[in-house]
C-alpha cells in the first residue's frame, strides 16, 4: 500500500520532467531587445545557403531585428494554411504563380506603402520581373532570384550529326530540321538519341503559344487559348510526334531519370537540345561536368522575326502574409534583400542573374556561368513572357498540359484540344471573376 502514492508521484514527476525538457529543447534562444522575424523559404542546399548568407548579413548589419530563417518544403501551401490558422510567418518565400492566387485570396498584405516609404519602385527592376510582383494595381511581393530560359544544346552531338556546333538553330523550322538530323535509332528501330522533344522537360507546356505570338487570355475576361497562333503552336508540338513517332518517343522518354540525376535526358546525352533555365548550369557542373554544351536564344518562327529571343521568365518572391506579427520589421529585411548588395550576394550564391536594372560589372566578372549575360539580357528584351496572372492559372495550366498530351497522342487535333480547353475554362473564368467582384465589394 505504501508504494502506491510513491508510484503516483513518480508518474507525475516523469510527466512534468518530459514537458519541461521538451519545452527546453524546442525553445528558441532568447534575443533580448530584438524583434524576431520568422522567414519561411523553399530553398535547401546551396540555394538555401545563399539566402542564409544574406540573412546573416542582415542580422549582423543592425541590432534591432533578427531574422529566423527556416527551410520548408511546399512553402506556399504551408504558408496558406498557416495564414488561415492565424499563425503565418512574417516573411514567406513564394513562387511567381502564387502572387495572383494569394492576392485574390487576401493571403498577402500589399507592400505599396512600405515601398513608397523605402523609395522602392518599378524603375529599379527589369519590367518583366516587376510585373510579376504587381497585380491589380498593387505590389504584393518583391523579387528574390529570377530565372530566364534559353536553348541549351550539346555541341558534341551536333558535331557527330554533321552539324556546325557553333551554329545552333535560330528558327523553329531549323529546330525541326536539326531534330531530324540528330535522330539516332538502334537496329530494332528504337530511338537512341533525339534532337529536341517539346515535352522534355515539359515545364513550359503552357508557353508554346507565346512562341508563335499567341496569348492565353485577353487580360480581362476572355480565354483565347484556341487562337490561330496557339493552334499553330500545338501543331508544332504534334510535328514531333510525326517526326519521331508518339509511342517511340514515349518509350524513349521512359529511359530518362529524374531532372537532377545523371540520367537526365540532356545531361546523359540522349537529347541534344532542350529549353532550360539559368539554373541548368548548376546541375551540369555537378552531374556532367565534361559535357560540351552551349546556350543560345530559343528559335523563333521564320515568318515572325519579331518574336526572336523569346524567353520565359520566372521569379521567386518574398511576401508578407496577412496576419504576420511584425510586418514592418519583415519589410526591413525584404528591403535589405532588394539592395544591390543584398541581391547580388543572393543571386551570385544561387548562380543566377539579378532582377535589378543596375548590376555591377564585378558581378558578371565573378559569375561562374559563362552564359550569364545572355540570361540577364533576354528578360530585358521585348519577348520576355511570364505565366499569366490570374487566380485560376493553376487549373488552366493543368488543362493545357492535358491538352498537349492529347494532341501528342493524336487523340484530338490541336484545334479540338484547344477549343475544349476554352469551353472548359471560360465558365470557370466567368465564375471566378464574379466571385472576385463579389469579394471586392465585400472588402
Amino acid at each position: 500500500m505504501t508504494m502506491r502514492p510513491l508510484v503516483r508521484w513518480l508518474g507525475i514527476a516523469i510527466v512534468v520532467a518530459c514537458f519541461w525538457t521538451s519545452e527546453r529543447v524546442v525553445r528558441k534562444p532568447e534575443r533580448p531587445n530584438r524583434v524576431v522575424v520568422t522567414y519561411w523559404e523553399k530553398w535547401t542546399k546551396f540555394e538555401g545557403e545563399a539566402m542564409r548568407a544574406v540573412v546573416d548579413e542582415f542580422n549582423r548589419s543592425q541590432d534591432r531585428i533578427y531574422v529566423d530563417y527556416l527551410s520548408i518544403a511546399a512553402v506556399n501551401s504551408k504558408t496558406l494554411l498557416a495564414a488561415s490558422g492565424g499563425v503565418p510567418p512574417d516573411v514567406a518565400g513564394l513562387y511567381d504563380a502564387d502572387v495572383a492566387q494569394f492576392a485574390d485570396d487576401n493571403a498577402l498584405i500589399p507592400l505599396d506603402d512600405f515601398c513608397r516609404e523605402a523609395g522602392i519602385d518599378s524603375s529599379r527592376y527589369i519590367p518583366a520581373y516587376w510585373d510579376i510582383c504587381e497585380y491589380g494595381g498593387k505590389v504584393w511581393a518583391l523579387p528574390t532570384t529570377p530565372a530566364s530560359t534559353a536553348l541549351h544544346y550539346n555541341r558534341e552531338m551536333l558535331r557527330a550529326a554533321g552539324l556546325d556546333p557553333d551554329r545552333p538553330p535560330t528558327t523553329i523550322e531549323e529546330l525541326i530540321d536539326y531534330s531530324d538530323q540528330l535522330l539516332v535509332r538502334d537496329e530494332r528501330g528504337r530511338i537512341r538519341k533525339a534532337g529536341f522533344l517539346p515535352q522534355e522537360p515539359g515545364w513550359w507546356n503552357w508557353a508554346w503559344g507565346y512562341m508563335f505570338g499567341g496569348r492565353l487570355w485577353d487580360g480581362k475576361d476572355t480565354i483565347t487559348c484556341d487562337s490561330p497562333e496557339n493552334v499553330r503552336a500545338f501543331e508544332f508540338v504534334m510535328k514531333f510526334s510525326d517526326l519521331y513517332g508518339a509511342t517511340d518517343i514515349q518509350a524513349f522518354r521512359q529511359g530518362f531519370g529524374a531532372f537532377s540525376s545523371p540520367q537526365n535526358a540532356f545531361m546523359s546525352e540522349k537529347v541534344a537540345m532542350v529549353l532550360q533555365g539559368v539554373w541548368m548550369y548548376n546541375f551540369i557542373t555537378e552531374v556532367a561536368p565534361d559535357l560540351d554544351w552551349a546556350v543560345a536564344p530559343f528559335p523563333h518562327p521564320q515568318d515572325r522575326p519579331d518574336l526572336s529571343e523569346m524567353t520565359f521568365v520566372g521569379l521567386d518572391v518574398l511576401g508578407i502574409p496577412r496576419g504576420a506579427r511584425h510586418p514592418k520589421e519583415a519589410f526591413e529585411f525584404i528591403k535589405f534583400v532588394q539592395s544591390q548588395r543584398g541581391m547580388e550576394l543572393l543571386c551570385m550564391g544561387q548562380r543566377k542573374h539579378s532582377p535589378l536594372v543596375e548590376v555591377s560589372e564585378d558581378f558578371y566578372k565573378r559569375h561562374p556561368n559563362p552564359y550569364i549575360r545572355l540570361f540577364a539580357d533576354l528578360p530585358r528584351g521585348p519577348n520576355a513572357v511570364a505565366p499569366p496572372q490570374f487566380g485560376i492559372w493553376p487549373q488552366y495550366s493543368q488543362e493545357l498540359a492535358a491538352a498537349i498530351e492529347q494532341v501528342f497522342l493524336k487523340q484530338k487535333t490541336p484545334q479540338e484540344a484547344l477549343r475544349d480547353v476554352r469551353i472548359r475554362m471560360q465558365p470557370k473564368l466567368d465564375a471566378y471573376l464574379k466571385t472576385l467582384a463579389q469579394r471586392n465589394r465585400d472588402r
Binding site: S77, L80, L81, A83, S84, Q101, D105, N106, A107, R190, T247, Q250, A251, F252, R253, Q254, G255, R322, G391, I392, P394, Q395, Q398, A401, A402, E405, Q406, L409, Q411, R424, T435, Q438, R439
Partner: protein, 293 residues
C-alpha cells in the same frame, strides 16, 4: 456520488483523450466539411453560403465524370483481381508444407512497403525500355506495352501493382481459413469429396463473412486510391487516364483553393461508397453463412 456514477465518470475521464481527439480532429472536420460543401470557401476567406451550387456544378463538370469513370474502371479491375489473388494465396498458404511461415512472411512483406517507395519502385519495374516487367515478358516472346505512357495500359499497370499489396487481406483470409473446423473436412472426406468439392462446399461458405468483409473494405480502399497514382502519374498522365477522383478532389482543395467544391466532392464520394456498401451487403446477405446461426 454512487459507485456506479463514480465509475461512469472515471470511464469518461479515462476515455477523454480519445473523446477530445475524436471531436476535434474527426467530428468537427466532418461536420464542417458538410457545411463547406454548400459554400464558396477558399480556406482563407469566410465561407459564403451558395446552396447546392457546388453539387450542381459537379454534375456538369466534365473532369469530375472523367475522374469518376477512371476510378470505377480501376476499381472494377482491381477489386476482383485483388480479392482472388489474396484468397488464392491464403488457400495455398493454408496447406501443410515445409517452410510455411517463411512463405507467409514473404507474401506479406510487400504490403509493408511505404506507398511512395512502392510507387517509385514500380516506376522502374514498368519502364518501357529497361523495366523488369517488360524484360520478363520479352523472355517469353511477348513485346511488353508502354505501361506508363500508353493510356490503354496505365490503369492495368496500377491494377498489377495493387496485386502486390494483398498481404493484409491474405492474412485475414488465412485467419478465417484456420477457424474452419477440421471435423467438417473429415466428414466430407468420408463421403468421398475431393479437394475442389471441399473448397467449394465447405471452405468458401465457412469463410464467406471474411470474404464479404474483405470485399467491402477493398471496395472502399480502391475507390479512394490516391498516393500511388499521384506519385507515378503527375497530372493523371497519360492523357488523364489515371486522373482519379481523389486526385481531382485534392487538386481542388489544395491547388485551386476551392475547398467548398472539394468538400462537395468528398461528400458525394461518401454517398457513393455508402450506397455501394449497402447494395453489396444486400446482395451478399443470402450467400454469407455465419457459423453461429
Amino acid at each position: 456520488m454512487t459507485l456506479r456514477r463514480k465509475e461512469a465518470w472515471m470511464g469518461v475521464l479515462f476515455a477523454s483523450p480519445w473523446i477530445v481527439g475524436f471531436c476535434g480532429f474527426m467530428l468537427y472536420p466532418v461536420v464542417a466539411s458538410m457545411y463547406f460543401s454548400f459554400c464558396d470557401y477558399s480556406v482563407l476567406r469566410k465561407p459564403i453560403w451558395i446552396g447546392t451550387d457546388n453539387y450542381s456544378e459537379l454534375l456538369s463538370d466534365e473532369l469530375f465524370w472523367v475522374a469518376l469513370k477512371n476510378t470505377f474502371l480501376y476499381a472494377v479491375m482491381a477489386l476482383p483481381l485483388s480479392a482472388l489473388a489474396a484468397l488464392g494465396l491464403a488457400l495455398l498458404l493454408n496447406t501443410k508444407i515445409r517452410g510455411l511461415t517463411v512463405y507467409r512472411t514473404i507474401f506479406f512483406l510487400p504490403s509493408l512497403v511505404p506507398l511512395v517507395s512502392l510507387a517509385v519502385l514500380w516506376l522502374w519495374m514498368f519502364n518501357g525500355q529497361t523495366g523488369l516487367v517488360n524484360v520478363a515478358l520479352g523472355s517469353i516472346g511477348i513485346s511488353g506495352p508502354n505501361w506508363l505512357g500508353d493510356p490503354t495500359w496505365s490503369k492495368p499497370a496500377l491494377v498489377l501493382m495493387a496485386m502486390w499489396g494483398v498481404g493484409h487481406a491474405m492474412v485475414i483470409y488465412l485467419a478465417g481459413l484456420q477457424s474452419v473446423p477440421v471435423s467438417l473436412f473429415e466428414a466430407a472426406q468420408l463421403d468421398g469429396a475431393g479437394a475442389w468439392k471441399k473448397t467449394r462446399h465447405i471452405t468458401l461458405p465457412m469463410i464467406s463473412p471474411v470474404i464479404m468483409f474483405n470485399v467491402i473494405m477493398g471496395m472502399i480502399g480502391t475507390l479512394q486510391v490516391f498516393t500511388v497514382p499521384y506519385v507515378m502519374f503527375p497530372n493523371g498522365a497519360p492523357a488523364r487516364s489515371t486522373y482519379f477522383y481523389t486526385m481531382y478532389l485534392y487538386d481542388n482543395a489544395f491547388r485551386y483553393l476551392r475547398m467548398g467544391y472539394a468538400s462537395a466532392m468528398g461528400w458525394l464520394m461518401f454517398l457513393i461508397i455508402f450506397a455501394l456498401t449497402l447494395i453489396s451487403l444486400k446482395l451478399m446477405e443470402r450467400r454469407v453463412h455465419y457459423a453461429g446461426d
